[in-house]
């Protein structure tokens, strides 16, 4: 998970990807830690009784946590300072014990406003292959 040498323009052809980031198994502590960091204290993510009373089998992860982990994958690959757009949709819920895999692919490379840019398609999947987060991003390439 440590950033290595930044990818170069020549590396970033359409279809290029970086080694997947695998995170997990996620614990309730991971959820609580993210809630504390982000300021989202919805009890559905840490209060077992509350989650059950709302009809869920147990607490589940904060959608923004897996969105943040997918962002970690992208910025490790292309550089924290280089992100210009990061968007995502929430799909499947993520539960305690889940292991997440983050992957991404270059879908477009171009020059705009004198900068080299790449567009990415991103996905964070659960261990059974279901998609938790579908994402997209634009990075400048130095």
């Amino acid at each position: 998970m440590t950033a290595t040498v930044a990818a170069t323009w020549d590396d970033l052809q359409e279809g290029a990807s970086a080694e997947a980031l695998v995170v997990g198994p996620l614990t309730r502590t991971d959820f609580v830690r993210y809630q504390g960091a982000s300021g989202d204290f919805n009890p559905i993510h840490h209060d077992e009784e509350y989650a059950k009373s709302a009809g869920f089998p147990t607490v589940f992860s904060v959608g923004m946590l897996q969105a943040g982990i997918l962002a970690t994958y992208a910025t490790d690959w292309l550089g924290a300072e280089n992100v210009r757009t990061y968007g995502f949709q929430f799909r499947e819920q993520v539960w305690p014990g889940d292991t997440l895999t983050c992957r991404g692919t270059v879908t477009n490379r171009y020059e705009e406003d004198g900068e080299r840019r790449v567009d990415l398609e991103l996905a964070c999947t659960r261990q059974d292959g279901g998609t938790a987060i579908k994402g997209w991003a634009t990075f400048v390439v130095s």
């Binding site: 300021g39 982990i69 968007g87 949709q89």
Partner: protein
């Protein structure tokens, strides 16, 4: 019933400061070991960091005025846009949210779905727009089945 006249409305806005310790805490919580966040003396913030505005917000966002039925609301996703590198530690930002759009679509399983798009703008001390957070929430035609989805807060 959703009130479309809310389009264009803004909240009062509030100030926030991007802090190095908060960047470090947030990066670690999102499983980053990136030295750009952890080791740089003036690190940039991670792509979704601006959700920490929850610690600075004074409440009173525009949702109350739109009239959404929160029991039928799903989170339709977010998009963060940066007009340069993401804001770095020490940056003082002013955040203001506006209702960007409200529109309807027919759901695949019947019932009308209402989409509400809000954009929170983040400006630096010179007034320059440095980042935007676009959020989409969806009011479904009927309450989601238990266990199907849950509106994320923050």
């Amino acid at each position: 019933m959703v009130d479309k006249s809310a389009i264009g409305m803004t909240d009062d806005g509030f100030d926030m400061v991007v802090e190095r310790g908060k960047i470090r805490e947030f990066a670690r919580a999102t499983k980053s070991g990136n030295p750009a966040y952890l080791d740089e003396p003036v690190p940039v913030s991670p792509p979704t960091f601006l959700v920490t505005n929850a610690f600075w917000s004074t409440g009173g966002g525009p949702f109350g005025r739109i009239g959404l039925d929160m029991r039928r609301v799903l989170d339709g996703g977010r998009e963060f846009v940066f007009h340069g590198p993401p804001p770095a530690a020490g940056t003082k930002l002013t955040a203001q949210t506006r209702v960007d759009d409200i529109y309807e679509k027919e759901g695949k399983r019947g019932g009308t779905m209402t989409f509400v798009v809000t954009v929170q703008e983040f400006r630096d001390e010179t007034g320059e727009l440095v980042a935007e957070m676009r959020s989409t929430v969806i009011e479904t035609g009927q309450a989601p089945k238990s266990g199907a989805n849950e509106k994320e807060e923050g």
